[in-house]
Structure formats: C-alpha cells, structure tokens
C-alpha cells in the first residue's frame, strides 16, 4: 500500500510528538515531557471520541463521563491497593491494584458498560437531542461524583504513587510518556482499521443516510451502539492514564467543559480524520500553555483562535495539511 | 428580450458543468430547455437564479445584468422558480408555504386554490406529509404567489398521475394564453413541444441546437434527446 498524503501527515505528526520529549530533555526543559504526555493522552481520548463523532456522526457532549470514570477506576483501585482494603461490592470483593494493565482493563470494562447503558438510551434520539441527552448523563455522573463523599467528592482523590507498568519505572516522566504514546499509536491503528472496515463503512454510511443503511439490511442502531461502546472504552482508558499523569482525579474530569474540550480537539485537528485528534491535542495543549504563559487573558485569544479555525480552516489542521477528505 | 444568457460557464467546486450556454426568452414566450440526463439543464436554471452563480458569461433580465446578484434580489425582479425535486417547506402547512412566498399581484391564495382545488383541501396539512403530486402542485402554486414575470419550471410534471399531469399542462397552457413568460424543462416531449414557442437543446453543458419545435426533426431528437 503506498502512502497517501494524509498518511504522511499522520506519520509526521506522530514523529513530531515522539521527538518532543527527547528534544525537551536534550535542551534541558524536562517539563515539555509532561506536556507531550498530556498531548498523547488527550489525543487518545479524542481518538476514542472520533470513532463515535467523526465516523458515526454521533456528536456526544458527554464523553467526559467515560473519561472521568476511567480516571476514578484508576484512582479507586490505586487507593485501595495503597490502603490494602479490598473493594466491597456486597456480593463479592475485589482487591485494589496499582498495576496499569489491570487498571486499564477495568477502566475499559467499566467505561464500556457505562457506554452501553448510556448508548442504549441515547441512541434512540438523534441530532440535537442526542447532544443533549449525552450531556444529561454526563451531568448526572458529575453531580454524583461531587456529592458522593466516599472518594473525596469535589475535593477529588489523590494517587500518591503513580501506578506501575511491568518493566518500566513509571515515575520517570519519559517512561510514562512512552507508555501513553504506545497506547495512542495502538488506538490510532485500531481507528484506521475500523475506518476502512465493513463496520466502518456501515457506520459512516449511517451518519450520511440512516434510512439508506437500514434499507440495505443493516440496522443502524446496533452499529452505532458498538461504535459508542468502543469509543467509550478508549476514552475511559485515556481517563485512567490522565489520572496517572496528574496523580489525581476529581469531578472536573467529568464536567461538561471536558466534553466540550474533546469536541474542540477533534474539530481543531479535523473531524473523522485519522490524525485529527492528535493534531488537535497537540495544537490545543500548545495554545493553552503558550498563551497561558503570555497573558492572563489567554482564554480570550484561545477563543479567537478557535473561531478562526472553524470559520476559515474547515477540515481542521489535517484538512489544511492533507487536503479534503476523499471517500473512496 | 426578457431573459438573455450568453456564454455561461458554471462550476461545482472544481468540476465544470456549463461550457457556454446560450439562451433567451422573450416577453410572453414559452421556451423549452431540453437535453439528456446530466447535460446541465438544472445547472443553467441554478445559474440564472444565482443559486450556483456562473463564473463567467452574462445573464441579463429585463436588460439588467444579474449574474452575480443575490438570489433574493433576482427573485424580486420577477423570476419565479419551481425547482427540481419540489423543495416545499416541509415544516410549514400548505397555506403557510403559499403565504411565505406571497408578493402582491394577480396571484393570491384564492386564485391558487381555484387552480389547484386539491391544495385547498389540504391547506392545514404539513407539506412534508403531502403526496408527491400534491407537493408538486404546491411548488407551482408557491412560485405563482410571487407573481413572477418569468416562471421557471424544472421538471414540474415529474411523478404526477396522468390526470394531474394533464391538469398541469392545462394550467401551463392557460398561463401561456394569459401572456405569462415561461422557461420550462420537461421530459414529456409530446406535451412540451406543442406548448413551446422555441426550444433550446443542451449537450454536455453547452447549447447545441435552437429553433422552433416544428424544426426539431426526429433525427435531431434522436441525436440530442435519445428519443
């Protein structure tokens, strides 16, 4: 398979992201490793959302719910591992864990289950109603987390020691970056495969014309539900990593701003494009950081930049670099 | 000339659809625009209304250059469009569809109801629940409500039952008899030709033939229209 322009752009962006932390260390500014890790994790979350939103046209304004749930799974398992007290579910108990693979598995499991539940109800609606019902579910989890005292409520929950990954010292920022980067690349490969697969074809067609898909014999609901669940799982995984990055989880991970930010990342980078979310995350984190350092009014300028992108750079960054999308 | 097109070239994005269309309609005349599928009839009409503005060439209406004017201004000059595919306002009732388009003149709701009694029966029904034929009547009625000096009909009899098709042709003939100028695209040649004063034929986005209907020999029909 020869590489299209879009694939070149994707590879270039990934190489850039990989180079950033090494350059940072070389030039004695280790903080950029953290920044790059943040880009990778937010990019991962946006890749997850991109499955539902970019391919399926499901504009979810509630993916923060999955992000936060992933984070809380990490935080709760870690805190129980720390205190050596098993989690009690009434019928059975579960030991805590500070091993990332275990935590990821649970984060994805819980995220997936939640997505299945939310999706089953939400996917009955469409358009603006879908946007709002997903928001409603996310708000429910948000208020629940704020007022549920067991794991810190609004004050959040600290993870004192970053969770471990076999064979790596995760406290070394570069190692943790590499783990996140690896997960991101895996998710991107998954996204690319899905996009070009039969499932992806059905999903994308359902976005364009639901009736047409049904009348060739493919039930859009099931296709969308699976996409929604997959999407939720990846975002939950991103949430777990994010918790480890900050060594802290709080309800703000569940807030509607977070959901909005994911959407912003995708549009900034290019909707439905493979590398769109990564490009968006890199750009957004950069803006936030640089503008934040320059002026107290950075949100004002961030707003102007975003406006400029929507109005004049349709197709986002990847669209600018790789030209318009062609659907084979 | 009421309407006069010269050297019209129109693009959809990068792909060119019209390559120098020539066309004119005189006051009180019925002009037929013909051609096979995909030859640019609809695009020509969209360019007249500036819905897809032409890149070059000229569109003069009543002596005024309108190629790059805003569509609503063109419409106000007296062009009434019945678009391909009807495009009724689906979330409005029949009556509301008509009222929304109304401009003062001979045509008003009562006149439309007289012309299409079927619409009177359905006046409070949502346009999206009308049958195809009912929608077509509504689209014609709506264009008449603007009291146009030139009525443009793009496939106005498509999908209609023979009885109603006859009715609509009768309406068109009535309008013609009243001196209404009409530019018409239609596939029913048996009805169209007797009604038209002049014909233009498009092929691959350019005018390839023009003349009176009686000059449209079977050879020409076969060559350009595939009849």
């Amino acid at each position: 398979m020869n590489l299209s322009r879009e694939n070149w752009v994707s590879l270039l962006l990934l190489a850039l992201l990989l180079a950033l932390p090494y350059a940072a260390i070389k030039f004695g500014n280790p903080f950029y490793v953290t920044l790059a890790t943040r880009m990778a994790i937010l990019g991962l979350a946006a890749v997850g959302l991109n499955i539902a939103l970019g391919l399926g046209g499901l504009v979810s304004f509630g993916h923060a719910a999955f992000f936060g749930i992933g984070g809380y799974v990490a935080g709760i398992l870690a805190s129980h591992a720390m205190s050596m007290q098993p989690l009690n579910f009434g019928l059975f108990t579960l030991p805590g864990s500070n091993q990332m693979p275990t935590i990821w598995l649970f984060a994805m499991l819980v995220g997936g289950l939640l997505a299945a539940a939310i999706g089953t109800i939400s996917l009955r609606t469409s358009g603006v109603y879908f946007i709002m019902i997903t928001l409603a579910f996310a708000q429910m989890t948000f208020y629940f987390a704020i007022s549920w005292p067991a794991y810190g409520g609004e004050d959040g929950l600290s993870i004192l020691m970053r969770n471990q990954f076999p064979g790596f010292n995760t406290m070394v920022p570069l190692n943790f970056f590499l783990i996140c980067y690896g997960v991101l690349v895996a998710a991107l490969i998954l996204f690319a495969l899905i996009k070009n697969s039969r499932f992806g074809a059905a999903l994308q067609a359902a976005r364009q014309n639901e009736v047409r898909v049904a009348s060739v014999g493919i039930a859009p609901f099931r296709i969308r539900l699976v996409a929604f669940v997959l999407s939720g799982m990846i975002v939950a995984l991103a949430g777990a990593l994010y918790a480890d990055l900050n060594r802290f989880v709080s309800p703000s991970m569940l807030s509607w701003h977070m959901s909005g930010e994911f959407i912003v990342l995708i549009i900034l980078g290019g909707v439905g494009r493979l590398a769109g979310p990564v490009a968006g995350a890199m750009l957004f984190v950069m803006f936030e950081f640089l503008l934040g350092g320059l002026t107290e009014r950075w949100q004002f300028f961030l707003g102007l930049v975003l406006l400029g992108v929507v109005l004049f750079a349709r197709g986002g960054l990847v669209g600018l670099l790789a030209g318009r999308q062609r659907h084979g | 000339m009421l309407l006069e097109l010269k050297g019209l070239e129109t693009f959809y994005g990068a792909s060119q659809a019209l390559f120098g269309v020539e066309l004119d309609v005189a006051e009180g005349e019925v002009v037929a625009l013909m051609g096979r599928n995909g030859m640019g009839k609809t695009t020509t009409i969209r360019s007249i209304m500036a819905l897809t503005p032409a890149k070059s060439g000229s569109v003069r209406f009543g002596g005024k250059e309108i190629r790059t004017m805003a569509p609503y201004k063109i419409a106000r000059l007296g062009l009434g469009l019945v678009p391909e595919g009807r495009r009724c306002f689906s979330n409005l009732t029949v009556a509301e569809n008509l009222i929304a388009a109304a401009r003062p003149g001979r045509w008003n709701i009562a006149e439309i109801n007289r012309l299409f009694p079927r619409l009177a029966e359905r006046r409070d029904q949502m346009a999206k629940t009308l049958s195809g034929g009912e929608q077509q009547m509504l689209a014609i009625g709506r264009a008449l409500m603007t009291n146009p000096s030139l009525l443009i009909l793009d496939e106005a009899t498509e999908g209609l039952a023979p009885v109603i098709r006859n009715d609509i042709w009768a309406v068109i003939r009535t309008l013609k008899a009243e001196g209404q100028s009409i530019l018409i695209v239609d596939k029913t040649l048996s009805e169209l030709l007797p009604c038209a004063d002049r014909c233009f034929v498009l092929e691959k986005g350019a005018t390839v033939w023009r003349g009176k209907p009686e000059q449209l020999t079977p050879e020409i029909q076969d060559r350009y229209l595939g009849v």
Partner: protein, 249 residues
C-alpha cells in the same frame, strides 16, 4: 396457483382522519411485474413504506416468502430479500457510487461487525458491486460521490443497490421519475429482464412503461384498490380512466 412471494392482506393505515391505506389486499407472484398505479396521494408510497417496514400498519398482515414480517424492522426485511428504491433518491451522499453499492453487498454477505479488513481491497465486495453498477450503466461513474451525480444517475444507482442485494422481490417507487426518454427506454428493457430474477412491485406514473411492462395492474385510489387486472382490463376500465388516466390527450 403459484405461491405468492409477497402477500398483503387487508392492510390499514390512518393518519388522523385520513385513511391512507384502507383495506389493501394484494400479492406478488414469482416472475411477474405487478404495477401499482393511482392518483397522487392515493397511498402508493405509504403502502411501499409499510411493506418495507419504514411505517407500521395499523392492522393487517404482510407475508413475505411465506413468513409474517409485520414485526420485523426495515433492516431485517431487507436482509430477507426485500429490495427497494425510494421515490426521492436516498443515498449516502459522501460515498462514491461504488461504495454505496458495496454497502448492499456487505449487508447481503452477512455481518457488518468486521473491524479489520479494509473494504476497498476486498474483492468479494468490490466485484459484485462493480457488476451491479455495470448492469445499470453507471460503471464509468463508479468513483463519483453520490452527491455529484445528476438526478437521473442517482435513480440508476438506487436500482443498482437493489440489484446488489440479490433481492427476492423488488419494491420500486417511481424508478422512471426524472429519467429522460432514452433512460426510460433503457430502464424499461432492463426491468423487463429483471422480473426473471425476482418479481417487481412497481409504482409508476409513466404509463408507457407501465403498459409495456406490467403483467398485472392494480389501481389504488384513496387507499383502496378499485381495480386489478391485465393491462387491457385496466386500460378500458371506465372508473380507472376517470380517476387516473384522464381522457387521452
């Protein structure tokens, strides 16, 4: 008598006070073209919608291949072999003509829950789709997005999709609409051959085509079938002439 492929019994559907389908009984037998004609607003499309599953009838039965399908959704009926075209073209606009057809091939082959193999490199999808496009004469336009096809081409594409589904019966809602004389002639010839593969329930206002093609004609007026029979029966039925055909011009 041969077993009917599609069998509709006493179907009823009202919108408020309007009886759009008022006790319709009709069937579709192997190898035939059964034309359904009637004035605008008679309820033809509404009937097609109910058969295809996009609308739920109030009462009545729909049997397809001997099985009652009332409770099945659109997608399930399509998989059983009900292929349809829409009165107003309904396609995936961003997809090329080819990918629109491939979607049907993929559905026909079974699961859409395959996540890894790229479709464009899957000959088992592209080849049948190409073949279907070729049959309707759209081969040259295979890579053009559906949104950029002209009106007539989109109608052809709809037929190609129904073909690719390998349907056991076709429900065609005004396939001739918008086609020029040449296109209509080609399509008429094409449908003529198609009936051998699967019977067709044809809704059409183009009487030349209907009279040329139909084995049987049913006439629907105000939701009721007022006449049913051979081409000649219908052509000469005074009631039909009054309600539908009008006096020959």
């Amino acid at each position: 008598m041969v077993e009917a492929i599609l069998d509709i019994k006493d179907l009823r559907k009202s919108f408020g006070a309007l009886k759009a389908t008022d006790g319709v009984t009709l069937d579709l037998r192997p190898g035939e073209i059964h034309a359904l004609i009637g004035p605008n607003g008679a309820g033809k499309s509404t009937l097609i919608h109910q058969i295809a599953g996009t609308l739920k009838p109030d009462t009545g039965d729909i049997h397809f291949l001997g099985e009652r399908v009332n409770h099945l959704g659109v997608a399930e009926r399509a998989r059983k072999g009900l292929g349809r075209s829409f009165q107003v073209s309904s396609l995936a606009p961003e997809f090329s003509a080819l990918r629109n057809v491939m979607l049907a091939v993929q559905s026909k082959q079974g699961s859409s829950f395959r996540f890894f193999k790229p479709v464009m490199h899957d000959k088992s999808l592209t080849e049948p789709a190409m073949a279907a496009l070729e049959r309707v004469g759209l081969k040259d336009r295979a890579n053009v997005p559906a949104a950029e096809l002209s009106h007539g081409e989109r109608r052809q594409l709809e037929i190609a999709i129904a073909l690719a589904l390998d349907s056991k019966a076709f429900l065609l809602d005004e396939p001739m609409a918008g086609m020029g004389p040449e296109g209509s002639r080609q399509l008429t010839a094409f449908l003529d051959g198609l009936r051998q593969e699967a019977p067709i329930l044809l809704v059409e206002h183009d009487m030349d085509a209907v009279f040329a093609l139909a084995d049987r004609i049913s006439v629907l007026v105000y939701g009721r079938i007022i006449a049913s029979g051979s081409v000649d029966d219908i052509r000469n039925d005074p009631e039909v002439r009054r309600a539908y055909l009008g006096d020959p011009a």
